[in-house]
Symmetry: C2
Subunit: 362 residues, 2 copies
């Protein structure tokens, strides 16, 4: 028997989740030597992903995402795990797999799940063998080579429709999605402007990732920053806004977009943890008509998104990361005891790079 710790949703948060109150760590006994269930697996958790959409799943059911997290159960997200024992012919002990897993150190995978192939980006409960032919850091498969990277890749092309010489503005530009979008856009010959929440991140996107310009939204108002930067770049306006945050930055982007501009609506992390009455009302929506803007929200599991780009994304990104053409920064939280703090820190923008939880290295 071992102690098996889990991160559990105890209450629906109001505002940012509070570790120890909304999110608590529980412990129970787990028998590592038990037989797997018929057709199932016993697995050990190595890495779990922290993603902003998890905040949405902590709400009381709204129907917006397929399921909210049930109360008093471990929360879940994409994970990399090692098979300890298997009663399923698809997998054997020692295999490294990805699936949507509990935030628990050990867990059981049922026959139904073990027999289902994981969909691109991890949109179902299925399981996939980790395919890592170039020997990359496995944590990348929770980020640039996982859901957030596929999110970036598919939506930039499907919705953003980038063209050489255009100007793109990306919020949360050093985050899991933003850093991939920005480097892809540079490869396509766009001018890239990023917003971040610290001077350290600003230096990083400009000096390490080669973005053309950026600003720290905590120090400069987004509308003023965009005006300043567009002037410095000699550009009239934005062609694409890749929106990870919503709120004031979305408003500023609506003001700075040129005619026929596109907004890729990926997230609104600046608003989703706001309490009622604290949210930012968007003032610039009337500009959508005169500028003929298109705003499109998506989820990577949508029919024309992740699945359509999955092979291309894996083939290109694995190669470009191996070659050093695309750099990926990760923010690793160590251990289940720190998981709640890591998750809330990511929601507050305190992470620097793609946020992951390490339970045990491979």
């Amino acid at each position: 028997m071992v102690q098996n710790k889990s991160l559990v949703l105890a209450k629906h948060p109001v505002g940012y989740p509070v570790p120890g109150s909304d999110l608590i760590t529980t412990s129970s006994e787990f028998d590592l030597n038990q037989a797997p269930p018929p057709g199932g697996l016993i697995v050990k958790t190595n890495y779990l992903s922290f993603d902003p959409y998890q905040r949405g799943r902590m709400r009381a059911a709204t129907g917006l995402y397929t399921t909210g997290y049930p109360l008093n159960s471990p929360i879940t997200n994409n994970a990399i795990l090692t098979v300890l024992s298997s009663d399923n012919p698809r997998f054997k002990a020692g295999d490294v797999i990805t699936t949507n897993a509990e935030f628990s150190e050990y867990q059981i995978i049922t026959k139904e799940r073990a027999e289902l192939e994981q969909s691109p980006g991890g949109g179902n409960a299925g399981v996939r063998l980790l395919k890592n032919p170039l020997g990359l850091d496995p944590k990348l498969f929770l980020g640039a080579l996982g859901m957030s990277g596929l999110t970036a890749y598919s939506s930039l092309y499907e919705i953003g429709k980038p063209k050489k010489g255009e100007v793109i503005f990306i919020s949360a530009a050093s985050g899991a999605v933003g850093q991939v979008v920005g480097q892809l856009a540079k490869r396509e010959g766009l001018k890239v402007i990023g917003s971040v929440g610290s001077d350290e991140k600003l230096q990083y996107i400009k000096e390490e990732l080669g973005f053309d310009a950026g600003f720290n939204y905590k120090k400069e108002k987004p509308d003023e920053a965009l005006n300043r930067i567009l002037g410095e770049l000699g550009e009239e306006g934005l062609n694409i806004y890749y929106d990870n945050v919503g709120g004031e930055q979305l408003d500023a982007a609506l003001g700075a977009l040129s005619t026929f501009g596109r907004i890729v609506s990926c997230g609104s992390v600046s608003q989703t943890s706001k309490k009622p009455g604290e949210t930012h009302g968007i003032q610039n929506m009337p500009l959508v008509v005169g500028k003929r803007l298109t705003i499109r929200g998506f989820i990577v599991f949508d029919p024309d998104m992740g699945g359509k780009y999955y092979e291309e994304h894996q083939n290109n990104l694995q190669k470009w990361i191996k070659d050093g053409e695309i750099k990926i920064k990760m923010a690793v939280t160590d251990g289940i005891d720190n998981a709640a703090e890591g998750l809330v820190g990511m929601l507050k923008g305190e992470n620097f790079g793609k946020a992951v939880l390490k339970i045990a290295d491979l």
Copy 2:
């Protein structure tokens, strides 16, 4: 010599334009017997269109529409006119033409304009012979068979993508665009919900136009009204919101749309005459991601809009109006002396139906 009165923009309005201050009526002498300029025309104005986009053109130049109205000149819009004399082989005295004309009782058309074919919806300065084979009310060619009708037709199909059994909500539902959109949607087998600003209009869209439901936005809050109506119709949410007004109704529609819903952004007349600080900040933009909504602004002159649907629109609408399958309500203001009041009344929603100015009947 006759007196030739014109409606002139004297100042850029703040809020709603003020007749007698922002918009004034001027008069000058006009020689009806003068020779037309070489290659040009002398014309008499019969009807002029009032459209919400004209408010945008009364601003100081913003770059959003191709041109703002110059100060101290007559404003312009689509018109129906009679040729008094012609030096151009395309036209002869007595011809009835459409062009983008001054709000003046009489005017001169230059050779350059007389030689240019008017583009669909009236997007250029060209001139077209009115083609009215079914002998319909000529004022219709400023509305249902003109720019606002083509706006409705092209955007409903190109952006709204209506499918039988879906639910559409249309604001300003008895207006120039809304009444056409709603009746087209009924023909396509959709359930149609309309919002209007008076009980008389509400009765009209339900009893005369056959809309399934509606509400008076001055008496019922839009979010509560949509919830009530969706419940009564046994529907979970909207599939399309056809937005003519922006503001609170846009916010309510964002809340009531189902996944993969579309917003056709045609106008925001509730906001464009608001003074700074009075506009409504949109709270529900974060729902765009989770619901995977698409919001698209357009102008009828855009490449994939009016021109693409022009023939189809003329052929179908002329026939359906002649047959009585589609009913068109018009609000006629009589005489240039009343033009400013008519235009401002339309901006305030005081008109009932497509607003036009009559100078002289054909």
